[in-house]
Symmetry: C2
């Protein structure tokens, strides 16, 4: 067995300590390290302060330290000079980096100032790590078999530097055991119910030496399968794929994708492939479902538009809901949500439509329809289907969870091809 390698993440910046910026870099870096088989054991956040940086560098006891922050044109003296002190080296100007900085400024029609050019002053003994998205270079140092990498704190720049340069180089340097992963995205069941449903399958993972992690977020649970590959990556891949396949057979209706898939991406892809179009009528979610759908670049290829029918008058006029139906059944009802779906689909002449009507809270709940009660409907070529959900949590969470449930309902309707429930009259 190869020795497990460990990592410390050092985040530098006053703004992180006083809560002005949330430290999202550390979590992202930790995840990326785990994925290549290096274990993050500690994150330390400190001020832009020479002595604090020296203390943190000196007390590092992992195989690798990844440092972010303190490299901007106004702050760079602190981190760079402190690294020079720690590694007994000095800053020298790197002409090819200076040329890149000048080119970067020219490309946006500006003249680089001396503070910008000074970003090409880098420690003599380090290996410079290219920054493909900005002007602050990274620095790679080695000492006694340990590695220290300093990167900018801007997430967009740091991530590119990690993916293109640092992670591949760490793999080469430490040769950590290869880990085979698959991350399967599920929706429709909470973590504990999902765990119950797949308990026997989960137990069977042990004999294949596969680990399972539940990664829940509102409305979703990611299932991450992982195993060490040893010397035979192909057989490890086969083991993981075999178990993933069993999972697909076990909970086909709950799985909507893998890896970085989001439900709105998957639904968008399916609509596009089928050359289908979508319209949306929202009440309690107030535009959030439309926002999710249109957050995907290119969504205008299938999303035609929608109506946010917050007031009953809009439900009546824009969606053709009869006044007596609203009065008899209430806005949060099977009858109304189905008419909303049919109404918006007819008005905008789309293949599919989604409708939601519910009680997002915190007020407006009743004993019969408590906060979190949401009716969801999908209308399609074969009619309309609806279901009532009870979504827990705050107003924000009810909105998020019911929106994801509606997208998942549309996904399933497209997979099935037809709607199984009885139709209601589409021609209002």
């Amino acid at each position: 067995m190869v020795k497990e390698r460990t990592a410390t993440i050092l985040s530098i910046g006053d703004e992180l300590l006083i809560g002005q910026t949330i430290n999202t870099n550390a979590g992202w870096i930790g995840e990326q390290l785990s994925l290549i088989g290096i274990r993050p054991v500690r994150v330390v956040t400190i001020r832009d302060d020479r002595q604090e940086i020296l203390d943190a560098l000196g007390s590092m006891s992992s195989d690798v330290m990844l440092i972010t922050g303190g490299l901007g044109p106004t702050k760079d003296d602190i981190t760079k000079h402190t690294l020079c002190t720690f590694f007994n080296t000095r800053l020298v100007r790197h002409p090819h980096i200076e040329a890149r900085i000048a080119a970067f400024f020219e490309s946006v029609g500006r003249e680089p100032l001396e503070v910008n050019r000074a970003q090409a002053d880098l420690p003599e003994s380090c290996t410079v790590v290219p920054n493909d998205r900005g002007t602050a270079s990274g620095m790679w140092f080695e000492r006694d078999g340990r590695v220290f990498v300093s990167m900018p704190g801007v997430p967009y720049e740091m991530k590119a530097m990690m993916e293109l340069h640092v992670l591949p180089e760490l793999k080469r340097y430490f040769q950590p055991p290869t880990i085979i992963h698959r991350t399967i995205m599920t929706t429709g069941l909470g973590e504990s119910h999902l765990a119950q449903r797949i308990a026997a399958w989960e137990d069977s993972l042990v004999e294949e030496d596969i680990k399972l992690a539940y990664l829940p977020s509102p409305g979703l649970v990611k299932l991450r399968l992982s195993t060490y590959a040893g010397s035979d990556a192909t057989s490890a891949r086969t083991r993981v794929d075999g178990k993933a396949e069993q999972l697909y057979r076990l909970i086909p209706e709950l799985i909507f994708g893998e890896g970085e898939d989001r439900l709105e991406l998957v639904v968008g892809r399916m609509l596009k492939e089928r050359r289908s179009t979508l319209s949306i009528a929202e009440s309690c979610t107030g535009g959030y479902v439309s926002h999710l759908i249109t957050s995907v670049p290119g969504s205008s290829a299938y999303y035609v538009g929608g109506v946010v029918s917050y007031a009953n008058a809009v439900k009546m006029e824009e969606l053709g809901i009869p006044a007596d139906m609203l009065e008899l059944e209430g806005a949060v009802s099977k009858a109304v949500v189905e008419r909303m779906a049919i109404g918006v689909r007819n008005a905008l002449r789309t293949t599919w439509s989604i409708a939601l009507s519910g009680v997002a809270g915190p007020d407006g709940g009743t004993p019969e329809k408590p906060v979190g009660t949401v009716w969801l409907a999908i209308a399609g070529p074969d009619g309309v289907r609806s279901v009532m959900g009870h979504f827990p949590g705050t107003r924000e969470l009810v909105i998020k969870r019911s929106a994801l449930a509606a997208l998942n309902m549309l996904r399933k309707a497209m997979l099935d091809g037809v709607l199984s429930r009885p139709m209601v009259d589409e021609n209002l």
Copy 2:
């Protein structure tokens, strides 16, 4: 001058290191400490591991350490037992805490298990800190004039514990210098342009011994004024208020609120006070403006509804935009966005309306209308007013920034009472 007190935040949890959960607690705690005059100097995140916890406790060099995590019913052995080791004490059952735990379970109709009751086993030498929102108690230890507080990692529970018990107790214990704050929310100018605009005023803060921090986020810049009160809090308050008043006179159109205000809350409050109603027609923002407005509890009092007119057909049919106007001017144009605003206001019979039409990207830009070009319009009792903006950044940022710009435009229109631009015909 009172000695400045410092704090270290210790976050315990494997899930934080591998990026499964983002450490939002540490930033929040850091902000709260800053606000009462205790300076956060270090955040350390470690695994649920006895030796790691002991090392972190032993190397603490601040006046106070705030510890979160590792107190759940399944994990509590680690943190609690390690604290007992470090403080040379032992766990004893606290009957009144056990009674509270039992009552908590009864209130949700369940029987407490022994693992739940065991949460009443707490170190003999600590002061128990009540958890008003859960069953894991906090623990307050003192040693050599230093304070260690252990709290649960669930943000909702930890925040209540901090606000109700820990922060007041820290103030009493350390008597940090009182800090007087005002946080003024601005929108409409980026950080660097804003800094230019208020440079002279900012320079004048020095003589009043007031510090200014710029806290930017997409579309917004918070300005935080703060000063030490010394022994005379009233005079410090007067100093800060005087400078805030000057700022209000300097940039009245950029300030929309203070403290925790969000633009959608402010606009909602103004609509409610004026008994006015709102409708929204969105194209490039795809429902995001409606989502912001309806994220506010009680927004149904003023928000009637909206149309997401992604396809041109919807702009024509639902909003009454003439086909030749769309063809001649293009969907992203002054003429179209004004008609959208008028169309939705007429259709839904509201006091005010907002309309947006633009290029969110990443595709769809042209040399004349590059990505980030967004036309914004407000229609009201006196007609319609529109403006074109160029919003930088990714698709997500263009959507966020233009949505906030539209809300700010509505806010200003309500303040002015009338629209200053020439009217166009409202009766399409």
